[in-house]
Every structure is written in C-alpha cells, then in structure tokens.
Amino acid sequence: MTTSPLKIGLIGAGGISNSHLPHLLALGAEVYVYSEEGAPDLVARYGGTVVDTLEELLDLVDYVDVATPTFTHFGLVKRALEAGKDVISEKPLARTDAEASELVALAASTGRSLYPAHVVRFFPEYVRLYEAVKSGVLGDLAVLRFSRSGAFPTRTPWFADRALSGGIIMDQMIHDIDIARWVAGEVTRVSAISTRAGTPEAPVEAAHVLLTHASGAISHIAGLWGPAHVVFTTEYSVTGTLGSLEHSSAAEKNYVANLAATTAQGGLLPDVDPAENPYFVEIREFTAAFAGGPAPRVTDRDGAEAVRLANAALTSLETGQPVDLTETGK
C-alpha cells in the first residue's frame, strides 16, 4: 500500500456501496461519498465524508468509484474520466454498446485507468475454475454451465425496468457471461430466452443464454430472480477433454447451523467468507493498480465485451433468433 492515503470519491449510496465503502476504508483510503440520496446514512454506517455535489467530489479526489444504477454509469464515468480521474465502475460498464465503447476509448485517450467491477472474477471458486482451465488440467473446454439464483431486487424500482437495467441478463447474468468468456474465450454467437411473472410488488424473472465460443466450446447461463425468500446460490459445471470441474454454492458450505435463532442469509448477495471477502480482494486489486501495482484481472475492454454480449442476448430476445457476432463485427 501507499504511504499517503488514496483519495477516492464514491458515487452512489445504494445496495452495492455497502460492499465497496467498508473495503475502501479498510484499505486506508480517504473516502468522500456523493449520492443523490442515502449518503449520510451510508457514511454513518461505515465512515467517510459526505460531499454535497459531484463537482465538489471531483475537486477533492484522485480516484472515483461509480456505484450507481446501471443507466447512470456512462454519464458519471465519462465525467470522472474527463476530470482526469482513474475510475472503478460497477458492472455493467454501461447500458449500451456505444456507451461502453465510448468509455473504453475515452479511458485510452485520457490515459486513465477504468476497471469494471466484475466481482465474480474475485470469488475463490471462480478463481479455481480459471486457474484449472489455464493450467490445462481440464484440456480443451467442450461444455460449460453456469447458474445464478437469488431474490428479485425490489429495493429500488429501476432493476425492474428493462430499459434502465437491461433486466436479469444485463444486471445479474452478465457476471456469468463474463466468467464464461474469461475461461472459454471470445464468443461468436449468442441466443437467449426470458420470462417474467408475478406482480409489480413481487416480480420474478428468469432467462437462459446460450453462447458459442470461437474455440467451439458451448456455454449455458441460467439466471433467476425469484421470490424474496429465495437464497442466493450459484453453480457451475465445466467439462473439457481432459477433465471436469463443478461447484455449487449450496453444496459447499462450511457452516451449517440448525439453531433456534439464526441469522438468515439474504437473497440479494452471495454468502462470502469475511476473511477473504471477494469485494475486498477486488477493491484491493483495483486500488493497488491505481497506486502503481499490477494490472487487475479484469479490464475495461472485458467490461465492454460483457455489455456487448448481454446486449446481443437482449437482441436475441427481441428477434427470437440467435445473434451472430462474427457478422456484426467488433
């Protein structure tokens, strides 16, 4: 770590800020929080300093962490890059392909770093998968399955608005879309089907996405935003010519309580080991890179590509046909 603390501006005080602010502070950063709402409560919970305007924030800090709703990422990240800041952006990097591309180009032209917070790359079970694939122990990958299930995020209304959030594919399944591409390589074809039911107060949404990789490997990604009681779970099953690897968060438990009184796990975020919290590892890797450390495991181009694949899936929902990414070009 650096001797003089990083000065970081956190924009947004919603759900995911609870997984960023304490880690930024734990890493010794000086954190200023700007949000349209909720900043005083967030700072009261963890620490940091509330600032009242975005201008003030950008004047105070060297780095910016954008943890706001999806549809605002583009404008805020653009503003921060133009102000000469290195930026962490919550995923998805942007809502549209054009916006994501523009941010990548802007980071390059301003010479600033832009890191999309694809936190699943920092979860140890997915790190094991990546390492296993890269070591060659699984051989040439053939078929991959990923699944992610939890409660529908109803705490703020924008998640339910597909125009704003991109729905479950852009918000939740983009994690596994990124992981599939991380381990099995570039994607040439995308198809998707999706469904939604329930009531406006208690919606549920699900989708299946199929990916064909340039290598010939095939991936299935399943996403579920279920009713409020559904516990957050993830699974993967990856088979190559030399071996297979699978993981189920529900099966791999190192603490199973059967107590009269217990703290139930929520349905919005995965259960993590606090001694190796993936959000902490992620923030540590990004801030270390800001301070001159090695390049993080995820780049702005990865973030833009995940957005492009998720949008291709959304296009497939509309057309009812797979989207060939080799024709549309990169």
Binding site: A142, I193, V204, E205, A206, A250
Partner: protein, 330 residues
C-alpha cells in the same frame, strides 16, 4: 423384441421376477462383434428365446417391449401392432417425424396401446414435484433447467452410429427432461434453440457429444437442457439427471440419481460411489403391465413420445442451421 438397447436386460430381469408374466424374447440378425446379443444373451438372462420375430409374434403375446435400435423402432412397433400386441417402446419414440406418426397410426389402427419408456417420470421425487406443482406450491412456474449427462454409450456400438441412433447426445438425452416437463405441465413446446460440438470423445464421435438446448413453451415457461455425454468413461457411475424448477413461489431442485454412499479407493485415491434408491424401471414396467391388464392406456403414451421427438428434431435442425426453430404441431 431385440436386445439392441442395453435396457433390454433390465426389463427381462424385472419381467422374469413377475410370476404373472410369461416372457419370450427374440433378437435376430447379425450382431456387432464383441456384443453379447441374440440367443447367447437370452441364455445368460435365463429367458426363453426364438430365432425370429415371426415366431415371437406367432406366440400371440398380449404385449411387446421394443428395445431395438432407435431407427428400427417403427418397423418393430408396426409388426407388434399388426399382431395385436400392446407396445412399450424404448425412448426416443423414433428418429424421424414420419416414423413417429406412422407408429401412432399403426397402434391406433390396431387398437393397441403404445407407451414410451421414460422411466424418470416414475421417480418418487418427480411424483412429489408433480404433487407440489398441482397443489400450487410452486406458484406460476417460469423456468426450468435440467441436465442429463452420461458417458458415451459404448456397450452397444449403434448408439454412436447416427444411421441407427438418429444422431448423438441430442437424440439420446434431451427426451428425458422433455418428458418430465410434459408430465409436469402438459404444455406445448413453441421454439427450440440448440448448440452442439464434438470435442468430447472426438475419436469415436460421429455426431454431437455435447449439446445445450433451450425451449419455450406455450404456457410461458422457458427451459434449458444440457444433454451432453460429458461423463468420462473412467467415472465411477454413469451420470445422472438433475432438474431445477422455479416459480413465483420458489424453487425445487431434483437430483434423480443423486443419493449415494461415497468413499475413496486406498490404492488409487479414486472415488468409490455407491448410488442407491428405487429402480424407476420397475414402476415403468409395472405401469405398462397395469395398462395392459386394465385396458386403460398408460402414460407416457405415443403422443408424448411424438411431442418429445419434435423437440429433438427441432434441436437437431437448430444445431445444424444456427437458427431458432419453431415447432408446429399438426
């Protein structure tokens, strides 16, 4: 009729154990070298044997079980129907729509019942799911994901000869979960998308060895099936069938062949896995016999076989054209 399918041995053992049933078998023709077939297989099982289907049907059986190569199902079902015998046909019903329709027409014209051997729907776990579904405990079902993964079938060479099997992993493994969805919801499949490759068992593969399929149904449900032959020959057990069903009231996970005692071989460190649980084939055969005795046609019938075949054929078309295929039932 025929010992081509490896399930034939299991059916013979079940029927020989039933004192109310007399059984005769035939498996004429020249058989692949190294495969125990014909009279030798009958002798090994201790079942009566005749050299031709003419002799078998001249015996005037009340019912016939067809366990020939997939591409020969039509011929044998038509022979049995013409002889006035009720038929239990191994899955898949056929390898072409034309054959499937002809089989339904032949059995209907002869006034005999046609049942298709989908044993997994007789699992008590499925019956429990069906009861929960019918009682509304799942709410409105929105999504299903299933996997039916096994080893490359090597005990009988025809399984990997598309001319006899009708294809690869798609034709072998999609139908089980398709049948479970049919048994659960009775909804009509609307569109099918499939991606495949031949990376696994590439030395023996003459058709796809891995496949991922998504299906939309007319009740709004979306489903995904992994049908890959992704278990290595060295695996301790053949594979399994898993399914997750999610609705507005929550999720149910089923692992039809999951429960097992586990250990390790001291010398090699390889896993010892000893699965347990009821034999679904016993309920399947029992249901068929009940149908034959009562005259009440048992499920799953030929119409289910035809509907699940349409899904397979659409998946094959999708995999070859790269497009999503719409199913039109006529």
């Amino acid at each position: 009729m025929s010992f081509a399918h490896t399930h034939a041995g299991g059916y013979v053992e079940l029927l020989l154990a039933d004192p109310t049933v007399t059984l005769l078998a035939s498996d004429p023709g020249t058989h692949p070298e190294g495969e125990l077939r014909g009279r030798a297989f009958a002798d090994a099982l201790g079942v009566g044997y005749v050299d031709s289907y003419e002799e078998l049907l001249a015996w005037k059986p009340d019912a016939v079980i067809v366990t020939s190569e997939n591409a020969h199902h039509r011929e044998h079902v038509e022979l049995a129907a013409a002889a006035g015998a009720h038929v239990l046909c191994e899955k898949p019903l056929a390898t072409t729509l034309e054959d499937g329709k002809a089989m339904l027409a032949a059995t209907e014209a002869a006034g005999v019942m046609l049942m298709v051997a989908f044993p997994v729907r007789f699992a008590s776990t499925f019956l429990k799911l069906k009861a929960d579904y019918d009682n509304g405990l799942l709410g409105q079902v929105i999504t299903v994901r299933g996997s039916n993964n096994g080893k490359l079938p090597v005990a009988r060479s025809w399984f990997t000869d598309p001319a006899l099997s009708g294809g690869g992993a798609l034709v072998d493994h999609v139908v089980h979960i398709a049948d479970l969805l049919e048994g659960l919801m009775g909804a009509a499949p609307v569109s099918v998308t499939a991606i495949t490759n031949q990376k696994l068992h590439a030395d023996r593969a003459q058709a796809e060895t891995a496949g991922l399929v998504t299906i939309t149904y007319d009740n709004g449900v979306i489903a995904a099936i992994d049908c890959s032959w992704s278990r290595p020959e060295s695996a301790p057990t053949w594979g399994g069938v898993k399914m997750t069903v999610a609705g507005t009231n929550g999720t149910v996970d089923l692992d039809f062949f999951g429960p097992r005692a586990r250990g390790l071989d001291t010398a090699s460190g390889r896993p010892i896995e000893l699965p347990y649980g009821p034999n679904f084939d016993a309920s399947l055969v029992g249901t068929f016999l009940d149908g034959v005795r009562s005259g009440i046609p048992p499920q799953p019938d030929g119409a289910v076989g035809l509907r699940t075949l349409r899904i397979v054929l659409a998946a094959q078309e999708s995999a070859s054209t790269g497009g999503t295929v719409t199913i039109v039932e006529d």
